[in-house]
């Protein structure tokens, strides 16, 4: 096992897939000459040349559309959005073109494309650059959505996403790129889409989450451990397709759950998960399922306010205590 950064893991995945399949190419702002805005594509231009690693103008709608077209005629583009925050205009191409083409063409036109980049907040990037966009991408049938939280998951899931015949929105995080973790040395390390992962086992309460919040969940679990509460942390990894079995299994085990996401509560990812749980695991619930999410405001710029707006381990612990009935709440 090697210990590498999330960024490195993505780089390895891209490299391996581009070597394996000539139709895979990378396109986006700064991906070639600059080695990538976050250096994810470092060295790829040198290795594969400018037909496989393509710099674009600042025009997400434009190059997303280019990518969709390329995918429709048989190539396998990886479209990088410097952040998904910049890609709201491109959403039209993702949803109306990529997501729906297989259905509308009666199965004749597939779109094996990957849209990747950071989602959600970093530090003090403020309102327009801190948006967690998962709900927009996961809502329409036809797009798969993947949110790896660790280097191993990033590598395995990116390789699977590139090989997948459907459009995949692969969501990373600026704050995750430097994160180090162990990645198996397998020659071809692929993690199937649609499989969640128990990042921490426990029997007292389930903290279900996705993306960078997995690390906040683990922190909260450590705090709870000091009081003898064993929290289970379930990392969904895939928002669509969703590993429903894993969700139900953990809730049946602990009888109480909380959903943690970095985005807003109103029709956030948690809304769907909670609905699923109450529908399919009602008789196993000893308490309502609570959600921890960003405060219902556009992300503030000021450091202290941003801290206050973001979900924290303390708030996760508090929610867990409430579903455990520990505070007389």
């Amino acid at each position: 096992m090697a210990e590498i950064t999330y960024r490195e893991a993505l780089n390895q995945a891209l490299r391996e897939e581009m070597e394996r399949d000539e139709s895979v190419f990378l396109m986006g702002e700064e991906v070639a000459e600059y080695d990538g805005a976050y250096k994810v594509s470092k060295g790829l231009l040198d290795a594969f040349g400018d037909r496989r690693v393509v710099d674009t103008p600042i025009s997400e709608l434009g190059f997303a559309g280019l990518g969709v077209g390329a995918a429709m005629v048989g190539l396998r583009p990886v479209i990088e959005f410097m952040t998904f925050n910049f890609a709201f205009l491109a959403l039209d191409q993702v949803i109306n073109s990529a997501a729906k083409s297989l259905y509308m063409s009666g199965g004749q036109v597939s779109c094996p494309i990957v849209f990747r980049g950071p989602t959600g907040a970093a530090l003090q990037l403020a309102a327009q650059h801190s948006h967690a966009v998962e709900p927009y991408y996961v809502h329409a049938p036809g797009v798969k959505v993947v949110t790896p939280a660790t280097p191993a998951d990033a590598k395995g899931l990116l390789k699977a996403s590139i090989r997948d015949g459907d459009p995949v929105a692969f969501m990373e995080g600026e704050l995750l790129y430097n994160f180090k973790g162990e990645v198996p040395d397998d020659e071809d390390y692929v993690i199937p889409l649609g499989k969640a992962d128990v990042k921490r086992e426990g029997g007292d309460v389930s903290i279900i989450t996705h993306g960078k919040m997995v690390h906040v969940a683990l922190q909260a679990a450590q705090t709870l451990e000091k009081d003898g509460i064993h929290a289970e942390v379930l990392d969904l990894r895939s928002l669509r397709p969703l590993d429903v079995d894993a969700i139900l299994t953990t809730v049946r085990k602990t009888n109480r759950a909380v959903y943690l996401e970095e985005g807003w509560q109103y029709v956030g990812i948690g809304s769907h998960i909670v609905s699923l749980i109450q529908e399919r695991a009602f008789d196993w619930l000893d308490a309502p399922v609570l959600r921890i999410s960003q405060a219902d405001v556009p992300m503030p710029y000021a450091k202290n306010m941003e801290q206050a707006a973001k979900p924290s381990a303390a708030r996760v612990v508090d929610a867990c205590n409430r579903v455990l009935y520990r505070n007389g709440a």
Partner: protein, 462 residues
């Protein structure tokens, strides 16, 4: 937006609280964090602090009144605010001397009266009176759900019972009536732990059967019960029951009933302990400290428990929990009754520390100022009545503990040692064992170890 002030669970075992004193009156301004009242719980008197801000609009439970955990006892809000919705249904708590579950008692009383009068109309007044008395007793028995001096009616909201889906299913599977289980969740919601506790407690089969049988029973029997002997008032006085005494009563019944006690006694020669104590205290004099015989006993007990995890164990219905840590509960007499502060990790503490801790905890216990974490969590308990001259006695186990040690006084008695009659200081210890956890031989082996530790104090050092 008005804030409801609830009777909060101020200790983990608290089921109801009595308002001792209100510090704020209706009309007073309240800030978050203000002390609203002193509440007497099962173990100590604790402060109830305000969680909201505004004006104290209504006090629903007066001084002296009790309320089960979760019940609304006051409302804070803006002056002039309409709080009729919040006040409705919150109501007065049942007075301590009335049978608590009003809903069930009313039902039982009406049923009894209806059936009795229907069957025995000619018998007239005697029967009507008969319907009252047994109903009171049986209604109380029916309503007195396992381990619940509080109100099952608490979780009932206009006939609907609040319970988590899981609790409902578990109760159903266990054949328990959800209405008879007291809920510890918000608003009196019955949750998993309540159902589990109810499953462990004894079911009131007998009283329920008796209640069912009574209406069909002979009116003559009821007539006899209806006329209690009149005791002249000057011969007695009724003393109110404090929260602590209520708890003691309930806990003891819960213990003696379901816990199969048996008792093992051993007489320990305390000669060496007495000598050791003299020597140790001589050393400690310079520090202004000293240790007592009881400190030796506690230390030896802790050491013995360490070696016998099968005795340092708790009964948990479907499994036995054997503790590696040794936390000894020491019974302390207080004005109202008794309480067992816990010496945590007693096997890892020296006698001086045990002595100091016990003194400190006992002192605060007498002032009713112990914190819940200080009187819960014992793995085994010890009770010493030696200072009252008691030679030997049997103590009642604190469930779910597996045993308790009752220590008598050290006294010089005549014993036979190597064929000669000599005077030796001897002490009797009697261990009460829960036969489900500890069998005769197991308990005996533990006592042998304890006896060795006391007859050869150096063994504790090993």
């Amino acid at each position: 937006m008005a804030t409801k002030v609830h009777m909060e669970a101020l200790s983990p075992t608290m089921e109801e609280g009595q308002v001792v004193k209100w510090y704020k009156a209706e009309g007073d301004e309240i800030s978050s964090g203000d002390v609203l009242a002193d509440i007497e719980t099962d173990k100590a008197t604790m402060e109830l602090t305000a969680r909201g801000e505004g004006t104290l609009l209504k006090v629903l439970v007066e001084e002296g009144g009790t309320a089960p955990v979760g019940q609304v006892i006051a409302v804070i809000g803006e002056e002039g605010e309409d709080i009729s919705e919040l006040v409705e249904g919150a109501g007065e708590a049942p007075k301590p001397d009335e049978p608590a579950p009003q809903a069930t008692v009313e039902g039982a009383r009406e049923k009894q009266a209806a059936e009795a009068t229907a069957e025995e109309a000619p018998a007239g007044e005697a029967v009507a009176a008969a319907a009252e008395a047994p109903a009171g007793r049986e209604g109380a028995a029916e309503g007195e759900a396992p381990g619940a001096p509080g109100t099952p009616a608490e979780g009932v909201d206009g006939g609907r019972i609040k319970a988590s889906p899981l609790a409902r299913r578990l109760a159903d599977e266990a054949g328990l009536d959800l209405a008879s289980i007291e809920g510890s969740g918000p608003g009196g919601r019955v949750v998993k732990r309540d159902v589990e506790e109810a499953r462990r407690a004894p079911r009131p089969e007998a009283p329920a059967a008796a209640a069912a049988g009574a209406p069909a029973g002979a009116p003559a029997e009821e007539g006899w019960r209806a006329a209690p002997v009149q005791v002249p008032e000057e011969e007695y006085e009724d003393v109110g029951i404090s929260q602590m005494r209520k708890t003691i009563a309930r806990r003891l019944v819960e213990s003696i009933g379901p816990v199969p006690h048996f008792f093992l006694t051993v007489e320990v020669d305390m000669g060496r302990v007495m000598e050791a104590r003299k020597r140790v205290n001589a050393l400690l004099e310079a520090r202004g400290q000293k240790v007592s015989v009881n400190d030796f006993v506690l230390k030896a007990t802790a050491a013995a428990l360490r070696q016998h995890p099968e005795v340092n164990a708790h009964w948990h219905t479907d499994h036995i929990r054997r503790y590696h840590a040794v936390h000894v509960g020491v019974a302390v007499a207080v004005d109202e009754g008794l309480i067992t502060p816990v010496i945590r990790n007693a096997d890892r503490k020296g006698m001086v520390q045990i002595s100091a801790e016990l003194r400190e905890l006992a002192g605060r216990a007498r002032e009713r100022k112990l914190k819940p974490e200080e009187y819960t969590g014992a793995t085994f308990s010890v009770s010493n009545l030696g200072m009252f001259g008691i030679q030997e006695f049997t103590a009642v186990i604190n469930p779910p503990e597996g045993g308790i040690l009752a220590v008598g006084k050290v006294e010089e008695i005549a014993v036979v040692v190597e064929g000669e009659v000599v005077a030796r200081p001897r002490m009797k210890v009697t261990m009460s064992c829960d036969h489900r956890v500890i069998d005769g031989a197991t308990g005996a082996r533990f006592l042998q170890t304890l006896q060795t530790m006391l007859e050869e104090p150096a063994a504790v050092l090993l």
